[in-house]
């Protein structure tokens, strides 16, 4: 039984936008309580752990609204970890969905495991862990596409500030040195690929939210800022630049929709993320350009979105993914033969 019956994903956009506004100025744990109160942390998690058991598509407008509103909370990671743990670590999943415990994911790097008698010890340096300094648990990748959930305060775990563009949910580096992990906290091989596939859809949604905000800001500025006796939008160069941004924005939106449709699969999910990175970067940089010198100031929020989009690009390893995507496409086509042309 799913709660999806009778509900539409877009109905969650307004709820999410209100929740994001209510989170302004709050600490991370208070934000978690607020977001959990609106059911947003468990939107795709099972009802057994307090979730709403809705399909991934329902998280799309939530994530888009969170990023449009520059929410300072690792919502994408929380939503994914809550669902990921619902079968194996039910109690912890419930705590994450309720906002009692906080979690994030280290998107870059792989922990190396070694056996020490009956213990499993993890070592390694991982990075691109949004908000890791404030959370209770960190999900890390292991060899073979397995994953492990590590308590952030476990012995041997060091979370450090990292250089990174994102100001809103700063990334951290996580160093592991002989960190003892209960076998029950190891999630099986294949976990990471499934997680990444869902994450790519939600990253595309995040970029959509930021890109929408950037285009709205650029459009507002172009309509109100006057130069040479006219609003900027009087000039064809500005009009056409904004029109291209709109094309990019709708391309992201449609690609996400397709990735979640009946015909959607891993290829469509990867394509949605890759398209979002390409057009999202262009939209945010274009919005900055249209703002002129104002765009280069700290106070105009375009740069915050631009920073997040570039960070999401790196967290999803867009450069590696497009190469894999192209190679996979090439590998699936047989050499030319007349009969099979």
């Amino acid at each position: 039984m799913s709660m999806a019956e009778g509900l539409q994903p877009d109905e969650f956009a307004a709820t999410a936008a209100r929740a994001v506004t209510a989170c302004a100025g709050l600490g991370v744990r208070e934000q978690a309580q607020n977001l959990a109160g609106d059911g947003l942390l468990g939107i795709i998690a099972d009802e057994e752990v307090g979730g709403l058991a809705l399909p991934l598509g329902f998280a799309v407008p939530v994530i888009a609204a969170a990023h449009s509103g520059l929410l300072g909370f690792p919502l994408l990671e929380t939503i994914l970890v809550g669902r990921l743990l619902q079968s194996s670590l039910t109690r912890l999943a419930a705590a994450i969905v309720s906002g009692e415990k906080l979690a994030t994911i280290a998107w870059q790097g792989e922990a190396i495991s070694e056996r020490d008698g009956g213990l499993l010890l993890l070592n390694g340096s991982l990075a691109r862990a949004p908000g890791a300094a404030s959370v209770d648990h960190i999900l890390v990748r292991m060899s073979g596409g397995a994953a492990a959930l590590i308590p952030a305060d476990a012995k041997g775990v060091v979370v450090e500030d990292a250089a990174g563009l994102d100001l809103t949910v700063p990334e951290h580096v996580v160093r592991l040195e002989k960190v003892e992990v209960p076998i029950g906290s190891i999630l099986p091989a294949g976990t990471w690929d499934l997680l990444s596939s869902d994450a790519n859809v939600l990253r595309a949604a995040a970029i959509l939210g930021s890109a929408e905000a950037c285009l709205a800001l650029a459009q507002e500025h172009a309509s109100t800022r006057r130069q040479f006796g006219h609003a900027l939008s009087y000039n064809q160069a500005i009009r056409h630049a904004l029109a291209r941004q709109k094309l990019g924005l709708e391309s992201i939106r449609h690609a996400i929709t397709r990735s979640l449709s009946r015909d959607g699969g891993p290829v469509q999910r990867d394509a949605a993320f890759l398209a979002a990175v390409t057009y999202g970067s262009s939209i945010s940089e274009g919005a900055l350009q249209i703002h002129g010198g104002m765009g280069f100031t700290w106070d105009v929020p375009v740069h915050r979105h631009l920073r997040r989009i570039r960070t999401l690009q790196a967290q999803g390893d867009a450069s590696g993914l497009i190469s894999t995507f192209g190679r996979r496409y090439v590998s699936e086509v047989a050499p030319f033969a007349e009969a099979g042309a």
Partner: protein, 403 residues
């Protein structure tokens, strides 16, 4: 014509097929009947002659692959837009020649359906689908390209009918057409969009002269059409003089979003052909595995997925009763520019093939050099890139032009 002797006369349209069974039937018919010589990804490719194209498209119609959404009363198959999409996906997956009557099927036909009289619908529409009448589009003029409101071809009242004088240009396929959908002015030039009327002008009428223009692909399908005191019956006026254009614009908005719906799937066919040709060549097979070209081919594949998303979203919106409005400009802008990038990449890759060229590369070069040249027109016809950007700025973003 012998190449088409084996084409099935079976009708899929009449069968009560739905869903995947409908798709399978379309797929099977196309694969069983498309002559190898019509396939531009085949070494046997020989561009079809006009009679061959006419016969092939008539067979496609009988099978249920054209006129899919048109009402049965006018020769159509009365199916849904979603089924139109399914059939077009299957059409796109084969390297099939473009229709010689796309103006009839995708412009004149829908306009007549929207604003034509009952008599016009019964007279013109079945003839389009059965390929008895090929149409061309007489909109652009020497002084009115993108700015159609500036057109000067004049239609004046003459008894019960009309008399047309003027000149049209960039009229693709006029030399082979029987009818031209002519946009002409009934009022003064200052009226701009008001006072424009549409006519179904028979191209064998006295006073019509067609002159071909050689285009960059070496073909002579482009034409100029001259109208010198051409008498037109009232029965060939499409829509009311002052209302026809507005109605046509509404139709054109939908057409811009839905015409040649197979494009994304055809581009995918092209991409797969390009890769398969490269993999048959020693030098190129290594190159396409290399990161540089894998990334660039991957980018093309992503753009094709996004284009599919644009098309499917438009179909779902229309099928759900939404208005498409100016959003057709988004899809047009997207496919035309992405196809140009892809075509440029294709000829760049193929130009690096090993010597002596193997047959696969010869086939691919012939196809992609033609595609590259033809694609240069894609950002010009059906509203240039600049016009589409203007439409998006004006009507979707509604940007202020105010001082």
């Amino acid at each position: 014509m012998s190449v088409l002797e084996a084409v099935s006369t079976q009708s899929i349209a009449g069968e009560s097929l739905t869903g995947e069974a409908y798709r399978d039937a379309m797929h099977r018919w196309l694969h069983a009947n498309l002559p190898a010589s019509f396939r531009s990804d085949s070494a046997a490719f020989a561009p079809p002659t006009l009679p061959q194209s006419v016969a092939w498209e008539a067979a496609m119609y009988r099978a249920g692959l054209t006129g899919i959404t048109w009402p049965r009363a006018y020769g159509g198959h009365g199916r849904s837009l979603r089924e139109h999409l399914v059939a077009n996906q299957e059409i796109g997956r084969l390297a099939m020649p473009e229709s010689v009557n796309s103006i009839g099927k995708e412009l004149a036909g829908p306009i007549i359906l929207a604003v034509g009289t009952e008599e016009q619908k019964r007279r013109f529409l079945p003839a389009i689908l059965e390929m008895r009448n090929i149409w061309c589009q007489g909109f652009s003029e020497p002084e009115a390209g993108s700015d159609l409101a500036g057109l000067r071809t004049r239609a004046t009242r003459d008894g019960d009918g009309w008399r047309i004088n003027g000149q049209k240009i960039w009229t693709s396929g006029a030399y082979r057409a029987q009818r031209c959908l002519v946009l002409a002015r009934t009022g003064p030039l200052e009226d701009r969009h008001r006072g424009l009327a549409m006519f179904a002008v028979p191209l064998d009428a006295k006073g019509v002269r067609v002159r071909t223009i050689k285009s960059i692909d070496g073909r002579e399908s482009f034409c100029e059409v001259f109208f010198d005191e051409v008498e037109i019956a009232q029965a060939d006026a499409i829509g009311a003089p002052d209302e026809g254009w507005a109605a046509a614009i509404r139709v054109l908005e939908i057409e811009r979003a839905t015409n040649r719906m197979y494009r994304a799937w055809r581009f995918e066919n092209e991409l797969r052909h390009l890769i398969s040709a490269c993999k048959a060549d020693i030098a190129l097979s290594a190159m396409v595995e290399d990161r540089h070209y894998a990334v660039r081919l991957g980018e093309v594949a992503v753009e094709i997925e996004v284009l599919k998303a644009h098309v499917e979203t438009a179909v779902e919106a229309l099928a759900s009763g939404d208005k498409i409005g100016a959003r057709g400009s988004l899809a047009k802008l997207y496919w035309s520019e992405s196809h140009q990038r892809f075509a440029a990449l294709a000829i760049e890759l193929l130009s690096q093939a090993s010597l002596p060229q193997n047959p696969a590369i010869k086939v691919a070069r012939r196809r992609f050099e033609a595609i590259y040249l033809a694609a240069r027109a894609e950002t010009i016809y059906a509203g240039t890139t600049e016009i589409q950007l203007g439409i998006i700025a004006d009507r979707i973003l509604q940007l202020s032009r105010g001082k």
